[in-house]
């Protein structure tokens, strides 16, 4: 079903998620979660990364991904609609759903994209990870500015989170434009100034059939070249044909 919609609306998709060696060793689940789907004609992408310090963060990440399409549908019924209202709605629904496990045990970061059939839309981010947009040959990078250390970030939880969300309009409406959304298990290891080259590396995977490309990407994430890498790794790559 997803493949049909992707073909109909001229999108190419690659997505992969692997459990980090640190979590495999400690018998912990993959705390990342990704969602890709259609709500009407709109392509929705969400990538969430559960906080390692929160015992039910995998549940928190899964819950948020599950809530995304229904919250989007509800939000998009009304005009005019404002992206901040969707972010508030997501948080409110998420809080209701994770309360049973304890909100402070379910924290997760969130990155999302909403794309119209013409390739225009929004991205929003809460916490770490990175979104890269290749638009007409240029690269736009969206990520959290860190002053501390690798394992620290803002995440879903109680309180007013709106000031912490970063949002931007994006335009993928030209053929070859590309969107990559990844968790910090990947983004923290990408060399500075190498983001454009990283995006171009996906030519290789997009050049294969979808199943082969997905498998090759998953293998690359499993055999990640950074020594002593421990974290889960999840990435969704979208290209407008």
């Amino acid at each position: 079903m997803l493949s049909k919609f992707l073909a109909k609306f001229k999108w190419k998709l690659l997505a992969a998620s692997v459990r980090g060696p640190g979590h495999i060793k400690d018998d912990l689940p993959n705390q990342d979660c990704a969602y890709v789907g259609f709500a009407g004609k709109f392509l929705l992408v969400m990538v969430c990364d559960g906080l390692g310090s929160h015992s039910h963060s995998d549940f928190g990440a899964r819950t948020l991904c599950k809530l995304f399409p229904e919250c989007f549908l509800e939000w998009s019924k009304y005009r005019p609609n404002k992206i901040d209202d969707l972010l508030r709605l997501l948080q409110a629904r998420w809080l209701i759903c994770v309360r049973c496990q304890g909100v402070d045990t379910c924290g997760c970061t969130c990155q999302l994209a909403i794309l119209s059939p013409k390739g225009k839309g929004w991205i929003a981010q809460l916490g770490d990870g990175m979104t890269l947009v290749r638009h007409n040959g240029g690269i736009n990078k969206f990520t959290e500015k860190k002053s501390g250390y690798g394992n620290e970030t803002i995440a879903m939880g109680e309180g007013n989170l709106l000031p912490y969300w970063r949002r931007s309009k994006i335009d993928l409406s030209t053929s070859g434009n590309r969107l990559l959304i990844m968790t910090d298990g990947i983004s923290e290891d990408i060399l500075p100034q190498a983001e454009g080259k990283f995006v171009s590396t996906f030519d290789l995977f997009f050049g294969m059939s979808r199943s082969k490309g997905q498998n090759a990407l998953k293998k690359e994430l499993t055999d990640w070249p950074t020594p002593h890498h421990l974290d889960d790794k999840t990435i969704v790559a979208i290209e407008y044909r």
């Binding site: 400690d26 390692g52 250390y149 690798g150 394992n151 620290e152 923290e188 950074t226 020594p227 890498h229």
Partner: protein, 236 residues
């Protein structure tokens, strides 16, 4: 060969351990500095053993000595494995000499500068361990540099441990450095105490490096590690 070889870092995310070692003149007495040097070398060798598996974070060590009106970088930040395999780096520790006063303020200023050095301690680094070992009263202005360390985004988030050596150490200052009611200042009255403290530092850092969340260790665990002292950790 990976498709990402040229775009992804081939350097592990560092788990930094930074030692501020007092080498003022009084550290010569009763073999205190010699004991400290041996303990540091044992610690680095133990880190090397722990980092041999790819399933642990890689521990990076640096050592700053303070005495005789200067704070000197004895070991620049490097992986413990690299230091342990390099005789001249180990000799740099062995060559530390006890002399002069206790310029803690200079050492803390250097530490603050080090933590802000993004090439050595990038934002992808895990939360560091900062360790202060001293046997005396600071002779310079140290309060402001300490305030800067504890109020800075990077210094305040580090796990800070302190060793008070002998009866003349300034325990109040060391407590202010640790700034955590759950972690006491460890007290060593002789060489055995110095060795024991660094065993605790070693085990805490290794435990943290083996966690799925390197750099994060509860204060209670550090204290428990000291209480459960394991005599077999260091080879004699």
């Amino acid at each position: 060969m990976s498709a990402f070889d040229s775009v992804v870092s081939t350097q592990a995310r560092p788990l930094p351990v930074i030692i501020l070692a007092d080498n003022s003149g009084s550290m010569f007495d009763d073999g205190k500095l010699d004991s400290l040097k041996h303990a540091l070398i044992d610690m680095i060798k133990s880190f090397k053993g722990a980092s041999s598996s790819s399933l642990e974070a890689e521990i990076y060590v640096s050592v700053v000595a303070f005495g005789n009106n200067t704070a000197t970088m004895v070991i620049e930040p490097k992986s413990a494995s690299e230091i342990a395999d390099n005789e001249s780096l180990l000799n740099a520790i062995n060559n530390m000499q006890a002399s002069g006063n206790t310029p803690l303020g200079l050492a803390l200023t250097k530490l603050v500068d080090m933590l802000e050095h993004r090439e050595s301690y990038p934002s992808r680094a895990y939360r560091p361990f900062l360790v202060l070992a001293s046997d005396g009263m600071p002779n310079d202005e140290w309060e402001n540099p300490l305030k800067q360390l504890l109020s800075g985004e990077r210094g305040k988030k580090a796990t800070r441990l302190a060793l008070s050596i002998g009866a003349d150490a300034d325990n109040t200052m060391l407590e202010k450095f640790v700034d955590n009611k759950e972690i006491p200042v460890f007290k060593a009255n002789g060489v055995a105490g110095i060795r024991k403290f660094f065993k605790c530092v070693t085990m805490s850092a290794i435990k943290s490096s083996q966690s799925a969340r390197p750099g994060e260790i509860a204060a209670g665990e550090v204290v428990k590690i000291l209480a459960d002292d394991d005599d077999d950790l260091f080879e004699d």
